[in-house]
């Protein structure tokens, strides 16, 4: 007789530890028995061939934010892929530990950059999150909190209304509020996190609208459709204005359709697939009517999801082709401006500044756009571009992550702020409103922060960049 070590009944210590014995497989699947997809349902489970790409080499570990924080295998990319594989085999249920560790993933895709084997963790995660949203019941408070986020952020009007309240709150907020909040029980940590992310609200900016058409200056390069975004348009409206000015100065007609709504990025990255699909269809239709050559966005997260519309709608015969055509036109603003650098029309005036550029994960890792924004910034005379240590590690913003996982987000925020301070820069630029909100929270008023396009805009107009006094 030989010993067959795993998996065997002799190794199950759960009962000895007073834990509930592992239920039989059939129980986990609600009596359905092991399905072809294990614990996943049949709607696009993580594909076996994508899981097979991972060879467990571990090259992803150092760039994973949660692994950097905790050093636990389950909260690393290869660990999460291992869990997906176990779930795919039906060895573990989705509910419980699996969901905890997938929820803790920021979706920053640093692992995709680091992986030498070409594992498409982005696709694995995007297949896994909707499985959880469909099949794992969330606690009432978790559900409520998530619904609240998705009832607010993708809606400009609601955000504007909220900005009124926010501005009022900021005026009236007593100094003692910080002390008060510090005493709030941990279970309300998410609300406290949300409060502290609130940017300095300018009601005037929040209610400003982009003109539908900004004509290009000089010979025209073409028509660019501008995604104005939700949070971007309400809390960072000057970024949209700067974007339109730069594009126009370089000879593009800028079309910013009034009827455009949220691109669905927040929902897509959180596994709310059905919602993301509806938003994608609406946005595609809007920009089809606008008849533009290029669709530009100044938000990394939006660009990343809009470039994936083709995959998102691939199953829908009516939309698949339209989605692919839309996705092919999507460019980050830095890509658009970079392409015009060779024959730039607008003269850049010097800005003497030591500038540190923070790669937003959805730009650097997800869209692999790293050199374009740097070239665009270097084209400004006087700008000294500094590199950030641990540049590949997420700042902790990650869409709605800093509201859902405040502790991890806070640890990452402090870490990023420390690295930024260490560079001795005069200015931080980054191409994502989420990153700006997050970094501002941890860096405080130490350093002016801008979207790169605002710096380009200031250079073209020959004015001091906003916030730099």
């Amino acid at each position: 007789m030989t010993t067959h070590p795993t998996p065997g009944p002799t190794l199950d210590f759960s009962s000895e530890r007073g834990e509930k014995p592992a239920p039989e497989r059939a129980d986990l699947l609600g009596g359905a028995g092991p399905s072809e997809f294990g614990s996943f349902d049949a709607h696009h489970p993580p594909a076996q061939e994508l899981l097979d790409d991972c060879v467990h080499c571990g090259f992803c570990l150092p760039t994973c934010p949660t692994y950097a924080l905790w050093g636990e295998e389950m909260d690393s990319p290869r660990g999460r892929i291992y869990l997906m594989e176990m779930a795919e085999k039906g060895e573990i249920p989705l509910e419980g530990s699996f969901t905890t560790h997938i929820d803790r993933c920021l979706g920053c895709m640093a692992c995709v950059t680091a992986c030498p084997s070409g594992v498409q963790y982005d696709r694995l995660l995007e297949a896994t999150r909707p499985q959880i949203e469909r099949n794992v019941p969330r606690s009432r408070s978790d559900r409520w909190f998530r619904e609240a986020i998705f009832a607010l952020f993708p809606y400009k009007r609601r955000l504007r209304a909220a900005s009124l309240g926010g501005a009022l709150y900021q005026r009236l907020r007593p100094k003692s509020m910080d002390k008060l909040l510090a005493r709030v029980p941990e279970r309300f940590g998410r609300l406290v996190a949300m409060e502290s992310l609130l940017p300095p609200v300018s009601v005037r900016d929040a209610f400003r609208r982009m003109p539908e058409r900004t004509p290009g200056i000089g010979p025209r390069r073409g028509r660019v459709g501008l995604l104005t975004g939700c949070v971007q348009d309400v809390f960072f409206h000057p970024v949209n204005e700067a974007t339109a000015r730069v594009l126009a100065a370089e000879g593009w007609d800028v079309i910013a359709p009034r009827e455009q709504a949220c691109c669905g990025a927040l929902g897509l990255h959180a596994g709310r697939e059905a919602e993301a699909i509806e938003r994608a269809k609406k946005l595609i239709a809007v920009f089809e009517r606008a008849q533009v050559d290029t669709i530009a966005t100044n938000v990394a997260g939006c660009g990343s999801s809009m470039k994936e519309y083709g995959e998102l709608l691939a199953d829908d015969p009516e939309w698949a082709e339209r989605a692919a055509a839309f996705a092919a036109k999507v460019r980050d603003i830095s890509e658009v401006v970079d392409e015009t650098l060779a024959d730039a029309r607008a003269r850049r005036h010097p800005i003497e500044a030591r500038v540190v550029y923070h790669d937003a994960c959805h730009l650097g890792h997800a869209q692999k756009i790293r050199s374009e924004p740097r070239r665009v910034l270097r084209a400004i005379p006087g700008v000294e571009l500094l590199e950030l240590p641990e540049a590949e590690i997420c700042c902790g913003s990650a869409g709605i992550y800093n509201m859902l996982q405040p502790q991890a987000a806070s640890d990452l925020g402090h870490r990023k702020a420390g690295n930024i301070r260490g560079t001795g820069a005069d200015l931080l630029v980054t191409a994502n409103p989420g990153c700006l909100l997050q970094i501002r929270k941890y860096l405080g008023a130490d350093l002016p922060m801008l979207h790169p396009i605002q710096l380009v805009d200031a250079s073209i107009r020959g004015v001091r960049p906003p916030e730099m006094g």
Partner: protein, 508 residues
């Protein structure tokens, strides 16, 4: 991820000494409670999903679910955890980043995994004395990054240096591309703080590298976690070389590349690194990194010289002349540091990148005398042909350290043939006067091949040394040393015995 059909080839009791009679230990709630007395509760992992996440390291063919995983945060907590293990008579396995390729960090059944991933502080960079004091979980590359502002660096550079930890490097005596000139981990570690099996803490070596008495530091380095856990390491830092020049040279045949290596060494040039890649490994690596490798060249050498500018210049022209003499078809000399790093990335990503051209593969690690490089490569190619499997080669040619990659498809049922071919290659190295392992270690993977290289007397002596440190086989048992059970059972997918199928016997 490759199918993990192969089960750990040894049993659940964690005894490795032949005939040793450690009874199976009961792992119960008391053990978890004992750990929770010394660690915060969330750093003691008992749930199945968590434990299974640690069931293998970089070698996924061998798996074993540990009873518990603990994540101490400093040396004191590591020692406290080891004392808990000692008190309960439970074996433990120290684990760094879990990137090892010989199953050295595979857990022991009923045992504890002590992860050192929370010990990541760089405690000191002593610029004046060119030393760094590190916790074991510091990534290898982080040491050089931290030392760079002072014009210093840490020389051993395993291909996984961005993720492998100094603690794991100590356990495996890791090398890397540049160990031809600069030596292995053992040549760069001055002093270590070590927790022994009974939980006592000792210091091996000394801050200056000078030491009276036997070299226990040297003994510990490369012992693969069988003597204790290192919790603090003092390493030597070197001055960043004045000049570095690298050439990527393509050759019309593996033999021509092999002969070039021989001639370079004969010419008394000591390059910092001489790496060879064959066309298969270049194909994979190029796809992953776009490093500029010529994918249809049969072989390429990456040769790097470093040192004072004049010396490097003189040697470099000599070197390129040697390459030309052997029919080099292309010589690419990266102009800038950035471009040079790209070439190195192409080399260092090769192992992992092979995942792009084969669903499954085994990374082998063996050493042959440099003079027999061409011979061993020809033999490997023949063996691959006979087995019907492709073998990619990427290796440290300068010191004869081979890394054949045996490509196979688990789905096509080629696993056993691949495993056998891989073992045969390692044993071929021994036959040719070389060694079973250059730098990846023996671990679980090669324990059965140890008698090919060492006599029973050799092994008995090793056992006695090990037992002097760890009399009860608590530290990483089942690794390195062959055991009758380990080797009696052929590693491979679980196959039911006919009697078992008939319900006459059952496996326990």
């Amino acid at each position: 991820m490759p199918e993990r059909t192969m089960e750990a080839p040894h049993g659940g009791t964690g005894n490795d000494a032949p005939g040793a009679a450690t009874p199976p230990v009961a792992v119960g709630p008391e053990l978890a409670r004992a750990f929770r007395d010394v660690l915060p509760a969330d750093l003691v992992i008992t749930d199945e999903v968590g434990r299974r996440s640690y069931e293998c390291d970089g070698l996924t063919g061998f798996r074993q679910i540990p009873a518990l995983v603990v994540l101490p945060r400093d040396a004191d907590e590591v020692a406290a955890c080891v004392r808990v293990c000692a008190r309960h008579g439970v074996p433990f396995v120290a684990r760094g980043a879990g990137t090892g390729l010989s199953g050295g960090a595979m857990p022991v059944a009923d045992g504890v995994v002590i992860s050192l991933q929370k010990l990541r502080r760089i405690l000191e960079i002593d610029v004046e004395n060119r030393r760094a004091v590190l916790e074991p979980g510091v990534y290898n590359l982080e040491i050089s990054k931290a030392a760079a502002p002072y014009g210093l660096y840490y020389a051993p550079d395993p291909s996984s240096q961005q993720v492998c930890t100094i603690g794991g490097n100590v356990a495996e005596n890791s090398g890397g591309a540049h160990c031809l000139k600069y030596g292995f981990t053992t040549n760069h570690v001055l002093e270590m703080e070590v927790v022994l099996a009974d939980g006592s803490v000792v210091t091996l070596g000394g801050p200056t590298g000078e030491q009276a008495g036997p070299d226990l530091r040297g003994l510990f380095i490369g012992s693969e976690g069988t003597l204790g856990i290192c919790t603090k390491v003092t390493v030597r830092l070197l001055q960043t070389p004045e000049t570095v020049r690298t050439v990527l040279a393509d050759f019309p045949s593996i033999e021509a590349a092999g002969d070039t290596v021989g001639d370079i060494v004969d010419a008394a040039i000591i390059p910092a690194a001489v790496e060879m890649m064959d066309s298969l490994s270049m194909e994979a690596s190029e796809a992953a990194t776009g490093a500029g490798l010529t994918v249809d060249a049969p072989a390429a050498l990456i040769i790097e010289l470093d040192g004072p500018a004049d010396e490097v210049e003189a040697e470099f022209s000599h070197l390129t002349a040697i390459c030309e003499r052997h029919g080099a078809t292309r010589m690419h000399v990266p102009a800038e540091a950035e471009e040079r790093q790209k070439v190195w990335k192409g080399r260092k990503a090769a192992f992992a990148a092979v995942g792009r051209i084969s669903p499954d593969y085994i990374v082998q690690d063996g050493v042959v005398p440099r003079t027999r490089l061409a011979e061993v490569l020809t033999r490997i190619a023949e063996m691959g042909r006979d087995a019907g499997l492709r073998v990619a080669n990427v290796f440290h040619a300068g010191d004869g350290n081979l890394h054949p990659l045996v490509l196979y498809s688990e789905a096509a049922g080629e696993h056993d043939a691949a495993e056998k071919l891989s073992t045969d290659i390692a044993e071929l190295c021994v036959e040719l006067g070389g060694s079973l392992s250059g730098e990846h270690g023996i671990g679980t993977d090669k324990a059965c091949s140890m008698p090919r290289m060492f006599s029973s007397d050799d092994l008995a002596v090793m056992h006695r040394v090990r037992h002097a440190f760890d009399p009860d086989d608590r530290c990483n048992p089942g690794k390195v040393f062959p055991t009758p059970r380990l080797c009696g059972e052929r590693p491979g997918p679980y196959r039911p015995h006919p009697l078992e199928e008939a319900g006459v016997i059952e496996r326990l």
